[in-house]
């Protein structure tokens, strides 16, 4: 275990002098003024792509326009985004992770509270996943709530069982990107276009993708919080 003290600022290093601060602040202010000027020069009414989205919403399989954009119209964005998440976690694992956290045994209050909160968080995640089809919600929100549940578990001293740390965890981590890639290949072969769902099954296919993505996002974010490879003697 490393020393916590090591992260403190080294005060012997050179700090920015007041003159330097002003010299830096001036160009930053110029950038801010320029950006503000550009913002204010935009047209106050700009429909953007909202008209096209509204026109095609009936064919998307969902009635929430944001979910329709994320999972249908621009599905490849979300495909690549799940891959980026996985790459970030692989990067953390490749660095060997960190072991900064002390192992603590939670007190009875924290222990029982986390036991009460955890099913609630999982329920909220499931609700957000389901409601994403017609209201704000969806895989990212549900995955984040699931990750919050995971972080709560980690903070209260819970650790993944050794038997689950190797293959089952990795299967969940690649479930989202894997489901997306599989769906992309299948739609490319059957429909002729990447991630173009058949209109009559679009809602179900989106829900399947979102479910897989929710699990992957939740576990990946929790893994990123843990900051290291879960203990597994088979791997080490």
């Amino acid at each position: 275990m490393h020393d916590r003290v090591a992260i403190q600022t080294d005060h012997t290093r050179k700090q920015a002098t007041p003159l330097l601060r002003i010299l830096i602040a001036l160009p930053v202010l110029a950038v801010a003024a320029g950006l503000a000027y550009i913002m204010l020069s935009f047209s106050p009414v700009a429909p953007g792509l909202s008209g096209q989205v509204t026109d095609q919403l009936a064919h998307s399989g969902v009635s929430n326009p944001v979910t329709a954009v994320l999972l249908n119209f621009r599905g490849y964005d979300t495909l690549l985004e799940t891959v980026v998440l996985l790459l970030a976690l692989l990067g953390v694992w490749a660095l060997g992770g960190t072991e900064l956290r002390d192992e603590v045994t939670p007190g009875p209050v924290l222990d029982s509270l986390s036991r009460l909160l955890l099913p609630m968080l999982i329920l909220v995640a499931a609700y957000l996943l389901w409601v994403g089809a017609h209201a704000p919600g969806g895989a990212f929100q549900a995955g984040s709530v699931l990750a919050a549940a995971g972080v709560l578990l980690l903070l209260t001293g819970w650790r993944l069982h050794v038997n689950l740390a190797a293959l089952p965890l990795r299967m969940i981590l690649v479930a989202g990107p894997g489901a997306f890639v599989l769906m992309a290949v299948l739609t490319l072969l059957i429909e002729g276009h990447l991630l173009q769902y058949p209109a009559e099954h679009a809602g179900l296919l989106i829900l399947i993708l979102e479910t897989a993505a929710t699990f992957s996002i939740g576990f990946t974010l929790t893994g990123l919080f843990l900051g290291g490879i879960p203990r597994d003697r088979d791997i080490e």
């Binding site: 090591a6 950006l35 503000a36 989205v53 944001v66 970030a88 990123l224």
Partner: protein, 104 residues
């Protein structure tokens, strides 16, 4: 000036504050935080400008981009933090050295 531009200007302000902090601070944790503040400013600008549809419903495309962006920003921050901790473990400093010889 309608509220969309007000929020967009707040986003520009956040971005600029983050940019200043990114340049002025040497500690890497502060730099990572500064980049996150800059990112929040960009997200705020995107969300604010999406409101200019003239309809009750904002443009969903920037909203979808921001949802994707937030998750990517969180994971990139986690990777940056682990990189920083590795640097601290290797050198004892949470700052990048200007002097090449010093790091050896």
């Amino acid at each position: 000036m309608n509220s969309a531009f007000l929020y967009a200007l707040v986003g520009v302000g956040l971005f600029s504050l983050g940019l200043y902090a990114l340049i002025i601070h040497t500690h890497l944790l502060r730099k990572i935080l500064a980049i996150n503040v800059m990112g929040s400013g960009v997200f705020l600008v995107l969300i604010a400008l999406a409101k200019r549809t003239g309809l009750a419903v904002p443009d969903p495309v920037p909203h979808a981009m921001v949802i994707t962006g937030i998750v990517v920003a969180v994971s990139a921050t986690a990777l940056a933090l682990v990189l920083m901790l590795k640097l601290v473990a290797a050198t004892g400093h949470a700052e990048l050295s200007d002097d090449q010889r010093e790091s050896q």
